[in-house]
């Protein structure tokens, strides 16, 4: 790697065209070119400006769970096609393409494990799978994670990332909101903790169900969190949206999330909260 620059001065965008994409990444927050390896060591958070790059479900499991403690559940659940839906492509084709791309059967990775020794049930949504949209399998896997928490009397943690309901499953996807919220009602009655971690982006039916129902709602910095998409709102009210609208900081200011937590502190924060709730 003789071409490697020795000085610490960050690379600028114009240098980038010569650089292989898997070694360097440009930060969307400050525009700096970052070394991928260093970025990964820093949990995909820009060391200069703190911008949180999107990470996938496996990465959240790795950063939240004690090493080697996680056991996946319900990996075999695969969505049906209840409406025989077809837009420009059949829904089944979209599902197979997403399966291939992401290496999972739907937009949730769930299981049980420990956080600093404390047993928990965990469900992590994955935005890469049809925009993290919630259909039958997403609803069912989150509900099952909740039921395992109930059964084992452990806390539930859900990491959210979603564009909303999965249109291709029509009203059945809408009803998943009631399903996940219903399991949370039982968890609430049982006095078990539920921590909702809201990442970029979380909108639509997922925000309007389990994402906003945490005993504690934690948001990642600058995450887009909302009910309606910004474009829908702009078209409805015919005016430009204020700076920072629907970002994590906006929700904190308006009292809808309890705390914004840097990803690098996430595990410690979850652990401290759970110990307050369960010791």
């Amino acid at each position: 790697m003789a071409w490697f620059r020795k000085d610490k001065k960050p690379l600028k965008a114009e240098d980038r065209r010569d650089l292989p994409g898997d070694v360097f990444e440009k930060c969307n927050g400050c525009g700096e070119i970052l070394y991928s390896e260093k970025l990964a060591q820093n949990l995909e958070v820009c060391p200069t400006c703190g911008h949180h790059f999107r990470i996938n479900a496996e990465q959240y499991v790795a950063l939240l769970m004690d090493e080697g403690s996680f056991e996946e559940i319900d990996a075999g659940l695969r969505s049906g096609d209840p409406l025989s839906f077809k837009d420009l492509k059949p829904y089944t084709e979209r599902l197979r393409a997403a399966e291939k791309k992401v290496g999972r059967l739907d937009a949730v990775l769930s299981g049980v494990g420990t956080v600093d020794g404390l047993p928990v049930a965990l469900a992590v949504m994955d935005f890469r799978f049809i925009g993290g949209s919630m259909g039958s399998v997403v609803g069912e896997k989150i509900a099952r994670a909740g039921r395992i928490a109930l059964e084992k009397k452990t806390p539930l943690i859900v990491v959210n990332a979603s564009g909303g309901a999965r249109m291709q499953e029509g009203v059945i996807s809408l009803m998943q909101m009631a399903k996940t919220s219903g399991v949370l009602a039982r968890l609430h009655e049982a006095g078990l903790p539920y921590i909702s971690i809201i990442t970029d982006p979380t909108t639509g039916g997922v925000t309007a169900s389990h994402a906003m129902l945490g005993d504690v709602n934690i948001a990642e910095p600058k995450a887009l969190i909302g009910f309606a998409g910004p474009r829908v709102i702009e078209e409805t009210i015919r005016q430009e949206l204020p700076e920072g609208f629907q970002r994590a900081e906006f929700l904190l200011e308006h009292g809808m999330v309890d705390r914004i937590v840097d990803r690098r502190d996430l595990k410690l924060m979850v652990s401290r909260l759970l110990h307050h709730m369960t010791d």
């Binding site: 209840p82 249109m167 009803m175 919220s181 009910f227």
Partner: protein, 325 residues
């Protein structure tokens, strides 16, 4: 007869109605006996109405569900219940008039009624926001549902909204949280809950008062995760494909029944609810009384268990790991 904005498939119906009116006026002026011709025309009209409304396409169903002469929540309340006492406000921010709530009697029995309320004209829609509620509307709805729970009374909700309002204030005051909280609380409210979809069941804004033991749908009402226009704009990249989207989304009452979401379709009079408000209301009343009688027989434990089971079972999936083993 009230002037009705024309829907394409209603053209022939309106024309015969016009002929009948003319004939009646002519007979009054001239004194001729037109009983027979009138009888013929009226029979023709009824047949035509029945045929037309039995064979609506999904996008036509959407148009009927949004018909500006269709009876809205308060129109039904007036006819289905007695002793209606409207109550207002969320005790936190304001009274959202896109949702109405209050006590009423169904066949003598005290119930809490909550429903989306559209406006009949522009002035009323300024107040009612076209039936699109803000967070405070959902919080108002829950406040009165909890009041019903406190006094052990059933809750009846009427669903008729294009959706929760997508605006700045809505997001600032937590529309997501308001809906989510209603969903959670409705799943374990300790009294019988029945929802009736009377027009548009628009997505999360509908579900926010719609997690109930029974879901009844008027024949020409719709229930959907997204509007056909919105769906077409995203999946077909143009709202012009709303007809295809309306079909693909399976949003008619028949679809919802066959998908196992709706429990019953309440038949509308020939010509749709907008042609006969009283007839529609009496069918709603009959269905509500019957379902409520069944639900009131259940113990609270059984009622809640059945509600959980209902929502837990919704969805279609297979377990690929279980199959081989």
């Amino acid at each position: 007869m009230a002037a009705s904005p024309r829907l394409e498939f209603e053209k022939d119906i309106l024309e015969i109605q016009g002929q009948i009116q003319k004939l009646v006026e002519m007979a009054e002026e001239s004194g001729f006996d037109v009983t027979e011709q009138l009888e013929d025309l009226r029979t023709k009209l009824e047949t035509l109405k029945e045929d037309t409304y039995k064979n609506l396409t999904p996008i036509e169903q959407v148009q009927v569900a949004r018909h500006p002469r269709r009876p809205y929540t308060l129109d039904h309340i007036e006819r289905v219940f007695t002793d209606w006492i409207e109550l207002h406000g969320d005790r936190a921010f304001r009274d959202d008039e896109a949702i109405v709530a209050g006590w009423a009697r169904l066949d003598g029995q005290s119930v809490m009624v909550v429903g989306h309320q559209k406006g009949r004209d522009i002035k009323e829609n300024l107040r009612r926001n076209f039936g699109m509620a803000h967070p405070e509307g959902y919080r108002k709805a829950l406040r009165f549902m909890r009041q019903a729970e406190k006094f052990g009374r059933p809750v009846i909700t009427f669903i008729d909204t294009p959706g929760a309002y997508p605006g700045i204030g809505s997001e600032e005051r937590g529309i997501s949280e308001a809906i989510a909280f209603n969903l959670r609380e409705m799943t374990h409210l300790r009294v019988p809950l029945i929802s009736v979809v009377i027009g548009e069941g628009g997505s999360g804004g509908a579900l926010g008062i719609g997690v109930t033991d029974r879901i009844l749908m008027l024949e020409h009402s719709i229930y959907s995760v997204i509007s056909p226009e919105g769906c077409a704009a995203i999946l077909w990249r143009s709202a012009e494909h709303r007809e295809k989207a309306a079909t693909a989304l399976r949003l008619t009452s028949k679809d919802l029944l066959s998908l196992g979401i709706a429990d019953e379709i309440i038949q509308e009079p020939p010509g749709g609810a907008h042609s006969d408000w009283d007839g529609t209301a009496s069918s709603i009343q009959e269905a509500l009384v019957r379902h409520l009688k069944e639900l009131c027989k259940l113990s609270t434990g059984k009622l809640l268990k059945a509600r959980w089971n209902k929502y837990d079972a919704i969805g279609e999936w297979s377990d690929t790991e279980a199959e081989g083993s």
